[in-house]
């Protein structure tokens, strides 16, 4: 019984491809974002929009590749908790900037 369990776990725990791919993707996205900014060859709007999109992809990589967001039996509730957190965060940040843009 014990042996079977160990075998089963080893079958699921070979080379950590998922983590290596996650690392390579996150390093690549970081460097692309840096290049877009320090090359100074794009408009401000394009630069800001693209680095924000890259950051969102990076966060998704962390959540899915490293944090195993969708593995538990309670995955639906985990996704609702974190999704609602991001929704509230986006509302607070975008809403504050939007309102304060008219404060002058």
């Amino acid at each position: 019984m014990m042996n079977e369990n160990v075998e089963q776990h080893n079958a699921h725990g070979g080379f950590p491809w998922k983590h290596v791919i996650g690392l390579i993707l996150s390093l690549a996205l970081t460097l692309i974002a840096l290049w877009i900014v320090v090359s100074y060859s794009f408009s401000t709007t394009f630069t800001l929009a693209s680095i924000i999109i890259l950051a969102i992809f990076q966060a998704l990589i962390q959540l899915l590749f490293f944090m195993h967001l969708n593995e538990s039996k309670s995955r639906v509730w985990q996704i609702i908790a974190i999704g609602f957190g991001f929704f509230t965060a986006a509302t607070v940040v975008v809403g504050s900037l939007w309102i304060m843009a008219y404060s002058l």
Binding site: H9, G13, I51, A55, F66, A81, V92
Partner: protein
């Protein structure tokens, strides 16, 4: 071999940290906590972004931020998130030694990050006169980045205590859940840093 196969089809593979209802619910609870942390940080981000241009004649973000320094900080934290993930990978193999080794590497990278950040703060304060009270921009900056740094410092203490517990008790349903949750916390700090890297440092170079 066939018994293993039938075992897998009857009962899907379930990691040890989810094996008890208690463990599974605590992990869910920690996700809810992380949702609340996202909201906490979002308030600090909103404040920083609103006051970003309010420098009161003091140093601006373009004058302060140094590409080389914040890139080193970013890579230290990104790679530590990866090594922490390898700790969780070893956890799935029930290999206590492997978990401890990867978590210690994670700790060292985390300490390197804190060292860089403290250096950065001290340099701003002593060489540029950029202290927390100098301008609204700098208050927003130090509170946002400092709160993240405080979280990383707490994470280092927490992870150290988990390593000690793991060395004493080995991989059990309880220690597995603890290793998994401290890993979640560490990856979450990297998620927050990605947004600091983007909204504070990179944006500060543009605007």
């Amino acid at each position: 071999m066939s018994s293993v196969a039938s075992n897998q089809s009857n009962k899907p593979y379930e990691p040890l940290e989810y094996s008890t209802e208690d463990g599974r619910l605590r992990i869910l609870g920690f996700w809810i906590f992380l949702g609340a942390e996202i909201v906490l940080f979002s308030c600090l981000f909103a404040t920083y972004l609103v006051v970003h241009s309010h420098t009161a004649g003091g140093p601006t973000s373009k004058e302060l931020y140094d590409v080389k320094e914040f890139m080193i900080e970013t890579f230290l934290l990104l790679i530590s998130s990866f090594t922490c993930g390898l700790g969780t990978h070893e956890l799935r193999r029930h290999n206590a030694k492997g978990i401890i080794i990867w978590l210690i590497i994670t700790l060292l990278l985390g300490l390197g990050f804190i060292y860089m950040e403290v250096n950065e703060f001290v340099k701003y304060a002593t060489e540029e006169g950029a202290t927390v009270g100098r301008s609204a921009f700098l208050s927003g900056f130090f509170v946002l980045v400092g709160t993240h740094g405080a979280h990383v410092s707490l994470g280092i203490l927490w992870m150290t205590s988990i390593i000690i517990q793991l060395a004493k008790r080995g991989v059990t349903a309880v220690t597995a859940r603890k290793v998994f949750i401290v890993g979640l916390y560490w990856h979450f700090l990297d998620v927050v840093w990605i947004f600091i890297f983007t909204a504070v440092y990179l944006t500060g170079m543009v605007l």
